[in-house]
């Protein structure tokens, strides 16, 4: 299934602003992140800590709705979803 990833700030610099991913049906956010992380050491360091855990500060949106940390592992993505990844915001 086709998923569009939009990355911002430091994440954009490392993985690019828009990435089209083709993930297996039933994939979730950890699989999406693993795909992005596999592209470079820099990307892996940004996404995962030394234990392979998704870094605490990463914020996800799926179709412009923020994903609660507690549901990070349980959300199943669907064809055409737009996933955004970014660090804590600093506007204002």
């Amino acid at each position: 299934m086709k998923i569009t990833v939009r990355a911002f700030a430091r994440f954009r610099e490392v993985v690019g602003d828009v990435t089209a991913l083709d993930l297996p049906e039933g994939s979730g956010l950890p699989a999406l992140l693993a795909d992005l992380a596999s592209r470079s050491d820099e990307s892996r360091d940004l996404m995962f800590d030394e234990q392979g855990t998704i870094r605490e500060h990463i914020i996800f949106m799926v179709n412009r709705k923020r994903v609660a940390r507690s549901t990070l592992d349980t959300i199943i993505l669907a064809e055409g979803d737009e996933v955004a990844i970014y660090p804590p915001v600093a506007g204002g």
């Binding site: 939009r6 911002f8 700030a9 430091r10 954009r12 605490e56 500060h57 914020i59 949106m61 412009r64 923020r66 955004a84 970014y86 660090p87 804590p88 915001v89 600093a90 506007g91 204002g92």
Partner: protein
């Protein structure tokens, strides 16, 4: 009006536009680029989501406080010291609600609106760390 723009704005125009027969006070917050030894600051937004979030914050402010109007203008792009970053204009019948709503709005913007700042200086560049995760 709630918007995200590359263009500069004139706070006076928005203050005047907030005048209404039921409005007894207009409170504004203008965020500007501070001189922290930087040469420029770059603002980036997840524009569609940021706009949606600003609209939601405006609605929250209206439901929590007795206010007549809310304007939020947030700039993106490359800015210099002294440039406007953000403008919030709140019109209300009474000052208390206007002050509280204005503070509520800027605090919420800093918490949730997907906008980031990168500072450029002689020493290099760095992303301004967010206060909330």
């Amino acid at each position: 009006m709630i918007t995200i723009t590359h263009e500069d704005f004139d706070p006076g125009i928005y203050i005047d536009a907030a005048r209404d027969r039921q409005v007894g006070g207009i409170v504004t917050f203008t965020g500007i680029v501070r001189d922290d030894g930087i040469t420029a600051i770059e603002l980036e937004a997840y524009r569609e989501a940021a706009l949606q979030e600003l609209e939601a914050i405006g609605d929250e402010a209206r439901s929590r406080y007795a206010i007549q109007s809310v304007d939020i203008i947030h700039r993106i792009g490359t800015l210099s010291v002294g440039d406007h970053i953000v403008l919030i204009v709140v019109g209300a019948s009474h000052r208390g609600d206007a002050f509280r709503a204005c503070e509520y709005i800027i605090d919420r913007i800093k918490e949730t609106v997907p906008i980031w700042k990168k500072e450029h200086s002689e020493e290099g560049s760095r992303w301004v760390p967010g206060e909330h995760s």
